[in-house]
Structure formats: structure tokens, C-alpha cells
Subunit: 329 residues, 2 copies
DNA sequence: GACCGCATTGAAATCGATACCAGTTTTTGT
DNA sequence: ACAAAAACTGGTATCGATTTCAATGCGGTC
């Protein structure tokens, strides 16, 4: 593949001049045209590795999530990538599967890549232990965040959202409300907090169960729970993955929504509106989360000294049939 | 950030020796330990840009798809990434949105990155015009492929799969079968071919419509079609995105599956089993597609001279209630 | 006509690693 | 114990670009 020296020779100029053409430096029109002709003729493309080495900026950001197949992260990723490419940056995507080891490995990789910055959905482990300062690049956390509130982050108002769901269920007349939460992320803990708070405030118990982040785990937990004699009358499900497992369990148990059981959860995935009678969910502003995270990262790069901030976005309650008001009998 | 020279000085050896430690070259245990201690002390991480420039291999592959939010591509991407990282390679992900311009831009970018190879779901435009030889890196196509069969590719047996769905519908007693296909990919064309062939073979007409690749377009097309007096009695839908639009249109029209309309489509997305009465679909072996594509790329890199090949995978018919046998009346 | 300033251009250093070659030490064989 | 082979180590060129600094040419001014 042609390199800058070949272009320079063909155009009869020095490599410096070709470089200037590349970077819109000061070059006379006549020379610029000659150089551009030579570049076209050789089908020249600059070598990004060389450019990055010399210029010391990689224009690359890392995006570390638990699993791109989780539609929430899929949507966020797409928004991040669009925003990144729009700003002339590239994205390296990594899936941790909630494993702290994988996460640590990918963070190391990020250092080797000399990334400009990282957008990270931290595992529960790292959210506590991670020192963003020591990493050598700025980090914006998404979805999950350390409680004490340092560092940059874009998150949902998880407590409020969970409380909103509880209030919605209470208003619909339900009293025995159970909650299913993830045991690996701070998100699950926060949603549980909002859930428990709202029920306690109403003078009700707040039975909760915690499971690892997989459809199967959620399905098994809900199946077991529904088989118990004093099973809840309504369930709050902490994310879209669990929701899928919950619906499977409910179908398998032959229960009807909402007559036998009310259901409300997180993540407005496409199918939640399609299954009868429609699932009540909190919709997260996924595009906005991705865009904000990227914007935040760019702002931090612009001004490394600016104070850390948390952007807390509100979810939107989408009420559907699965939480229809309890009929009096 | 520390560089190799710093490590060398701290360890009291030459940079060459440090480099050898890095690359598992021949180094005495004593020196290796000293160097490793120095690396640990300095928290040294090699600069990948420098390494790539010098070694002339980037260990990076490009993955170019239309939209990562399409669950088919999500799943394939994840498989590709896992396989790539397992082989010490990195992945650059790009979304073309079926735009030939974006695709061309990303292919240019791939050249600048000096990628080792590319896995590409080509737009209809490039599937015809693309000359993989001229790109400077090997390409494995997925999902879509040029008809004439040159180049490496991993695809579904689309004709057969579509024919299978048609045969399934015929066996269930349906006769007026319509098909909805994408107008931007070769996949749509092939599935249409299989669809038309199977119906023609049965002596039946094969009414088909073609739409751009979006949920909205599919929804609008199906809504319009269902409003016509001689609307089909069964629909074959060419992919998971369209299937979503179709289900929305059917629900909006107040039609019941399968009494009012039978439905069969592609892509066994999670929700297809959840909505009543379950959607009949062709399941694509998404993990296998991703893994095979990566394996194929690695094999091609190993032996650039080996003959091109197409891996054609069979889909699996998953029969559900949406295509239940037509009751006699 | 000498001098200054501006706009261009080129030469050479540099980014941080690896590759190659040569030199030195250690091991092995007899 | 000596020669030959093997193992290890260091110096330097190099990858392909950008960056810095110096040189050149040209026009205008006094």
C-alpha cells in the first residue's frame, strides 16, 4: 500500500508538504492540487497507526458494557457510536458479561490502545473499587454508578423509577407486591431501594429476591416464587432481561395477566407492547443516555479540570394492560 | 505513561531485551524477572499504535453491518467479537444503515486502519460492485452475497428457508399466500426467489411486495395490504424487523392469528415465542454464522491462496401457532 | 537597492515499539 | 581443556506519519 513518501515523490514535493495537505496546513493551491492528484492516483490512505503514534492522540474511545445483546446496551451503543463517528472518533466495544476479570482485562487493553476516554457500565465489583483517576484516561459511567457520587456518570433515576412503578401498582389496587432484582449491578440495588421505600411508605412489606443477570435465572426464580402458597399478587421486575424470563415463567405456569398476576418492569423493549395484554414498563431514554455519555466525555476532554457531574435522567412510565386496575369482587 | 525505554533503564537492560520479554523471546529467567518487576513497578503497558506500526500487523478486523440494533446482527456481532478476542484480535464495528455511501466510507476507514480483514454484510449496491481483491484485505461476506458466488461468504440457504416456510403454510392448508421482502439486500431477493418458486411449483400465484428495511415501512405495507379486498390469507415475512411491523399492523387491524391471517417469518427473536399464539419462524444459527465467518477469515489469512468458498447454513423451521392448520368449515 | 515580512516549502527529529545483526557469554561435545 | 554450538544481550535501523525549525522566494516599503 502506498505511503506518504510515494505520494511525495510522485507529486515532486517533500513528505512534509504531503502531510500538510492531509492536515489542511498552509499549502499553495497549485501544490495542493498536484498532491491530491498523486494521492488519488496511488489510492493513498494515511496509516492511522503511524499517525496515532506520532500525534499522540488516538481519537478512539472504549465502550465497555456487560453484553451487547441486552437491548438496552444495544441501543445505547448505537447512539454512542453514531455520536463518536460524528466527532471523528472510533469506538472499541467490549463485553464483560459482568465478570470483574474480563472488565479488568479490557481496561488494561484500553490503556494499551491509549484511548482518549472510556464509557463504562461497571460491574458491581469495580463500581466500588475503581479509581478513575489512576486509569490514565477519563471515564464516564453509564447505567451503574458508585453511590458516593464521584466521577462522571449518566444514569437513570432508578429509585424514583422503581418507586413510580410501585405507586402505579398501588394506585391500581395491588397490595402484595414482590420485586425481582439483579445481584451484580448497582442498578439492581438502587431499584430495590426505591421499591422498598415506596412500599414501606405505604405501610406494606416489600418482599424481594435477587438473581444473577440471566434470563434463565429470572425464569427459575419467578417459577419458584409463583409456586409458593403466599405468592405475590403483583411483580416488579428490575430489567428487560428478567422481564423476559418472568413472562416465560408466567406463561409456563398458565397464569393470566393481569387477572392472576400483575406485572410491571423496566425497559420498553419492542415486544413488551406486543404480548397481551401489554406490559407496563419504565422506558429508559436510551438514545439520550448514549448521546449524553458521549457529550460528557467530550466535555471532560475539553476541560479535564471541570467538576465531576452526574446526569440523572428520568424514566417514563408506560402503562399497559399488565397492571390494569384490580377489579373489585 | 511509561514507555519501553523507561522499563529498560529501570531494569538495567536494553530496550531490545524488554521487547523480548514482551514477545516471549529468548530471555534468561533472571533478567525476565527483573524486567517484569520494572514493568509492574511502572505499570507499563505497551503502546499498540507503535507496535502495530512497527510489526505491520494490526490484529484488527472490521465488522460492517447495516444496524447493530437488528437482533440478528447483534447476535452475530457478539459471536464475532468473542471469537476475535479469543484469537487476540480486536473488532471495529460499523453501521451502514444500508447506505452505500456510509459503506464506502467505512471501507476506506478500514484501509486506513490497515485491518487484517473485514466481515461485511454488504448493501445491495456493493454486493454487485464490490471487488474484494482491490480492497487490500480479505473480506468475508455474511448474510448477503453476490449471486455469482465468488468471494468468501457465510450465508443462510435463503431460497430453501423461504421455500420451507411456504411448504409449511401449504401443508397447513393455506393457499392465498403473500410475501413481504426487503428491497435493499440480496437476502430479500433470494428469499423472494424461494418463495415464488415454491408457490409456482404448487401452481399458485406468488404476490409479493418490497419495502425498505424499517419497521415502519413494513407496518405501513402490511396495513395497506390487509385493507385490500383480496388480501392474502397468509403472509410470509422476510426478516425479524419486518415481522415486528407486520405484527403491529395485524394487531392494529384487529385481526386474529391464525384465524384471520396466518403468519410465518424469519428470525427467531425472543418475543416471537411470547406473543400469542406464537410466531412460526425460520431460526438462523446466529452464533454459528458469526463464528464461521471469523473462522473463515482466519483461514483465509492463513492461506491467502486457498480457493474461495461459500458456507451455506440451513435455517431451522420453528412451527408455532401463527401457522396452525386451517380448520375446515 | 537593501530590508522586512509573509507565505510556502523542505530537512530532520520524533513518536514507541520490533527486527535484524553482531557481539558476548554459557553450554555442550569430545 | 578446547572448539563449536547454543543461548542470550545490546545497538541501531525502521515502521509511516507529524512536528519543529530553518530556508527560500516573493512582494512591498522606504
Amino acid at each position: 500500500m502506498a505511503k506518504i513518501k510515494d505520494v511525495a515523490e510522485l507529486a515532486g514535493v517533500s513528505v512534509s508538504t504531503v502531510s500538510r495537505v492531509l492536515c489542511n496546513g498552509p499549502v499553495s493551491d497549485k501544490v495542493r492540487k498536484r498532491v491530491e492528484a498523486a494521492m488519488a492516483k496511488l489510492d493513498y490512505r494515511p496509516n492511522l497507526a503511524a499517525r496515532r503514534l506520532r500525534s499522540q492522540h488516538t481519537d478512539t474511545i472504549g465502550l465497555i458494557v456487560s453484553d451487547i445483546r441486552n437491548p438496552f446496551f444495544t441501543a445505547v451503543s448505537r447512539a454512542v457510536e453514531d455520536e463518536a463517528y460524528r466527532n471523528g472518533m472510533r469506538v472499541i466495544l467490549c463485553n464483560t458479561d459482568e465478570s470483574p476479570e474480563k472488565e479488568a482485562m479490557y481496561l488494561k487493553l484500553m490503556r494499551e490502545e491509549r484511548v482518549t476516554g472510556v464509557i463504562l457500565a461497571p460491574t458491581r465489583h469495580s463500581v466500588a473499587a475503581l479509581d478513575p483517576e489512576s486509569l490514565g484516561f477519563p471515564v464516564v459511567m453509564i447505567d451503574r454508578t458508585p453511590a458516593q457520587g464521584d466521577g462522571d456518570a449518566v444514569v437513570l433515576d432508578n429509585r424514583r423509577a422503581a418507586a413510580q412503578l410501585v405507586e402505579h401498582l398501588l394506585a391500581a389496587g395491588y397490595r402484595d407486591i414482590g420485586g425481582l432484582f439483579g445481584n451484580t449491578s448497582s442498578t439492581g440495588a438502587e431499584r430495590h431501594a426505591g421499591f422498598a421505600e415506596a412500599l414501606t411508605h405505604a405501610g406494606l412489606p416489600s418482599p424481594a429476591r435477587f438473581v444473577p443477570p440471566s434470563v434463565e435465572a429470572a425464569e427459575a426464580a419467578v417459577t419458584a416464587w409463583l409456586a409458593e402458597p403466599d405468592r405475590p399478587r403483583a411483580l416488579l421486575i428490575s430489567n428487560g432481561i428478567f422481564l423476559l424470563g418472568a413472562v416465560r415463567a408466567i406463561k409456563a405456569a398458565g397464569l393470566c395477566l393481569p387477572q392472576d398476576l400483575a406485572l410491571a418492569g423496566f425497559d420498553n423493549e419492542v415486544w413488551t407492547s406486543l404480548i397481551d395484554p401489554g406490559l407496563t414498563v419504565i422506558e429508559q431514554p436510551v438514545d439520550e443516555i448514549g448521546r449524553s455519555a458521549m457529550a460528557m466525555l467530550l466535555a471532560r476532554l475539553e476541560d479535564p479540570a471541570r467538576s465531576h457531574r452526574h446526569v440523572v435522567l428520568q424514566g417514563k412510565l408506560v402503562a399497559r394492560g399488565s397492571s390494569a386496575p384490580l377489579r373489585q369482587r
